[in-house]
Symmetry: D2
Subunit: 326 residues, 4 copies
Amino acid sequence: MTTVHVIGAAGYAGAQLAALVDAHPHFTLGQVTARADAGKRIADVAPEYRIDAVLQEFDLDGVAAGDFAAVCYPHAEAAAVVSELVDRGVRVVDVSADHRLTDPAAYPQWYGFEHPRPDLLAEAVYGLPEINRQAIGSARIVANPGCYPTASLLALLPMKGRITDIVIDAKSGVSGAGKTPSPDVHYCSVADSVRAYKVLNHRHTPEIAQQMGADAVFTPHLVPVDRGLLASAYARFTGDAPTQAELTKAYVDFYDGHPFVEVVESPPGMHAVQHNNFAQVCPMVDQASGRLIAFGVIDNLMKGAAGQAVQNLNLMAGRPETEGLL
Amino acid sequence: MTTVHVIGAAGYAGAQLAALVDAHPHFTLGQVTARADAGKRIADVAPEYRIDAVLQEFDLDGVAAGDFAAVCYPHAEAAAVVSELVDRGVRVVDVSADHRLTDPAAYPQWYGFEHPRPDLLAEAVYGLPEINRQAIGSARIVANPGCYPTASLLALLPMKGRITDIVIDAKSGVSGAGKTPSPDVHYCSVADSVRAYKVLNHRHTPEIAQQMGADAVFTPHLVPVDRGLLASAYARFTGDAPTQAELTKAYVDFYDGHPFVEVVESPPGMHAVQHNNFAQVCPMVDQASGRLIAFGVIDNLMKGAAGQAVQNLNLMAGRPETEGLL
Amino acid sequence: MTTVHVIGAAGYAGAQLAALVDAHPHFTLGQVTARADAGKRIADVAPEYRIDAVLQEFDLDGVAAGDFAAVCYPHAEAAAVVSELVDRGVRVVDVSADHRLTDPAAYPQWYGFEHPRPDLLAEAVYGLPEINRQAIGSARIVANPGCYPTASLLALLPMKGRITDIVIDAKSGVSGAGKTPSPDVHYCSVADSVRAYKVLNHRHTPEIAQQMGADAVFTPHLVPVDRGLLASAYARFTGDAPTQAELTKAYVDFYDGHPFVEVVESPPGMHAVQHNNFAQVCPMVDQASGRLIAFGVIDNLMKGAAGQAVQNLNLMAGRPETEGLL
Amino acid sequence: MTTVHVIGAAGYAGAQLAALVDAHPHFTLGQVTARADAGKRIADVAPEYRIDAVLQEFDLDGVAAGDFAAVCYPHAEAAAVVSELVDRGVRVVDVSADHRLTDPAAYPQWYGFEHPRPDLLAEAVYGLPEINRQAIGSARIVANPGCYPTASLLALLPMKGRITDIVIDAKSGVSGAGKTPSPDVHYCSVADSVRAYKVLNHRHTPEIAQQMGADAVFTPHLVPVDRGLLASAYARFTGDAPTQAELTKAYVDFYDGHPFVEVVESPPGMHAVQHNNFAQVCPMVDQASGRLIAFGVIDNLMKGAAGQAVQNLNLMAGRPETEGLL
């Protein structure tokens, strides 16, 4: 059994992650920490998971070399803890954004803070197993992808290098906005409506561009859904457009051997991926305009956060990629 | 034209009320006030109403004898303003709970404050036009009923004095909980769920009992709906149960001449009353158990708050009861 | 491994049941049947379950003595199949209503058909494990309870014999209405509304009365929720009302050793029981009126149908009660 | 007073239109017709509108030259009725798609039928008042725009001729799919999900292209909303991108004098346009990529159907454009 500490378990992603670790046949919960909620039973914060443990304050002295940790702090706050943990010999999945961008200069620009450890930034592996499985397996730090990038990249990566003029119109459930009450997540604001937000300046934009090796217009929308994230992506083929059969085959081949990505023929809704770690992608070709239209859908808390973190932990620990996730 | 001041217009009920007054053919908006939001345009706080005015701080010197006012402050904060306004010669609809209960001792017990003006409490008319139309017409202070009491009372009043063992199971949309963000009104808390709250101690309980002249078990539930409130009421006939035809006739007769109450034959949903001032009531008799089952449904912000306030203002101003409401 | 046939797997409950059997460590899927949808892959009918099998027409010759079956046909259609299966030596959980009422005369009255096998009716065990665990273990036919009775009975049974004047106000998610399209389940009919239906004549009424040994007023409501069912139950204690502590203890004791019932202190919402087989019950006492107010909440497709069926199959097969359900 | 016949009033758009005509100060309801629902009271089909009339079968002999009519039949069925009405001297708003495309060859291709009256197709005016106010005023036939084209065109038209590579990602509420029950509009299918449909082949595609004078990739999505339609549009400026100030000014100027289009600064949600005839558009410029991102939001039954039809009827009848719509 391997000990996994969950640092920051009071939010939606952290609690889901603690639940997955708790139920995992090979992992055992170490510290399950919170800041404002320290001292509460997890079952009071997230009763649906029935985890029998108390949220504690993070105690660096209570971790041991060889342990694993997943850090679910907000961006700008995770970096310091990750740094401490790694220096102790703990292998870490950083669920925050603090190790996703390789360029240190991107942090002041997009996240408003100077990154404290550019060396770890350089070392961190981007934790999308469908492209980095090998490197994740031996990484000390895995940067767990953002929810929007996960859905968008899974929809587009098989055509990486063959497309340009990328436009991503994404629709996210409200749990993606986090648990903190605000006017924007009030039921009466969200229900019966859809709206775009952070147009042209959402922080997942450079993360997508970095992985695609190409700029993308990225526009997130909030939809009246609890969990679920759909990315509808549009791009122009730089060369001749493939036939639909060629396109489908390229996707099927690309995801061959990747257990959590399903290539589907009809535009996917959210129900088949909610509460599990699957992604569904659906590529379509518009011969008339020479365009790709590709859909990617995930549960933003599972494949978009906690599930993917466990997938990464499995790879890091040499366990089957799907363990504890099916 | 009569000037109507709307005191406390930043919340859901206050903004709806300002919109109704703004569009009313006989009323003209006087002061439209807020505290935290003073200085903002109403259109920024409640864009759906397109009211061209700025929220100001309440200015007692800006009101004149003969004006009307509707006070939408929270309970315990409305009483002082109402008192000041009435002393100036302004006739007031108090949309808060501060003048609904006739017994001053009920305020410390249920609302946690000593009522500052028991004399006004004694004078205030309970603003349910279906039973107090005449008195409302000449009142200085009208206590606008609570949303739950409105739906419950309309469902039960035609049988007042003939029933006992009253149980009211009510379901309210989230706007009834107000605009302030909290974990309880977070979209992810409310969506896909129904739950009871404040069991046995909701503040509308004594208000219902006072009007029915009988105790009632009252259990409110929060439902994933924006606007709308359904009260399902159960009671035992003290004498012989009427036939269904007799029961229906009693309700039709009771509401004859009351333009906003519709007696319907099937249990009503919320769609026919949303965004308007109608109530629908549906009485049914269970001959086997000698019970009344009666449903009452309203829009909690209209017949349950702002719409009813305008209905009361119409009566106070000698205008047609439905003016500005159809 | 024990073979379990799922007869009628195209609907919501049947597909959920097939998924639970498919993932069960001790059960293996036998025939998975449908009528209109025979020939389709289950994954096309219910993609969220990822069951790799084809819906077939029911083939009596393909079942063997010693097999188990769960029948999810509509009422009036299940009885004949159950009869055939039992005569073959198959032990059956009837998820339909066709073996729930012990009095044959209740079937023409409530369900509109003459029961073909009163002998099997007499033999069938009511499949609520919390009261019939032993008998279920050796039964040939288990009548799986209705969704409303499950939530209502779990909320009330600990006080059976001590209460009267029972009123149950229940709120069900839309999956309880089944998969067949109709105006009543159109999104635009259901969303933003709550309404009662089948007042005084819902077929779960006699089932509740039979188990409680007392009549109950039962009023179901449709709420804008996918899965989830809340029963809010009100009753009068025939003797002195217990204290809250006594009441809670009585419930805790009653459900001691029953792994799927959680006695909770606050009125439960639906989130903690969705997609699992747990029920939460919350009993409260109103000393003023001498009344019990008790809430019971379940997932109508799990503890209210398919999950409870697997719980029953576990008991019948001598397996741990929670196997395949946690 | 002018008589307006509403042909096909049993659906969502038709009933809304009948309600608007019924409440209009200058129009009076003529025939209000239905086919399957003929003989029913409108209040039974659409109780929220409280229209006191009976749905009748269409009677050509009951219309008179000089009357107006709005036809809300499904496409391919409206053309014949429109033809009969116009030949009688009735001026018609065709709410169906049957007169929107100017090229007769588009009808077999996109709608699957041969258009019976290419002469009327040539004569019909596209009923988007913001570009065709004058022509609508004197038209015999006005082709009421589709809901998706209305939101998309209002978002893009001010840049017509200056943009290329148009991608429209649209999100529609379920009432846009019509009232007929089907698996796709079952509450349990729609709730908690978003999905694209009719990718690359939705019938509103050529309508948008025709008005923009440019091809567009158009992808509609179904969202868990009753009423409301958001078009998020992306395009590349063919010349230099304007500044944000220039862009905003161009939109404000374009819609100057058009009472139902509001140019807003933040991406609009649906609440401010639901149940009214307003559209909100929000243009933004992405200097980095030289792109326009523009949002248009409407109520699909109001500005997207019935409200716009009344706006057109007002213009045809020489009434103020906003009459009966504010």
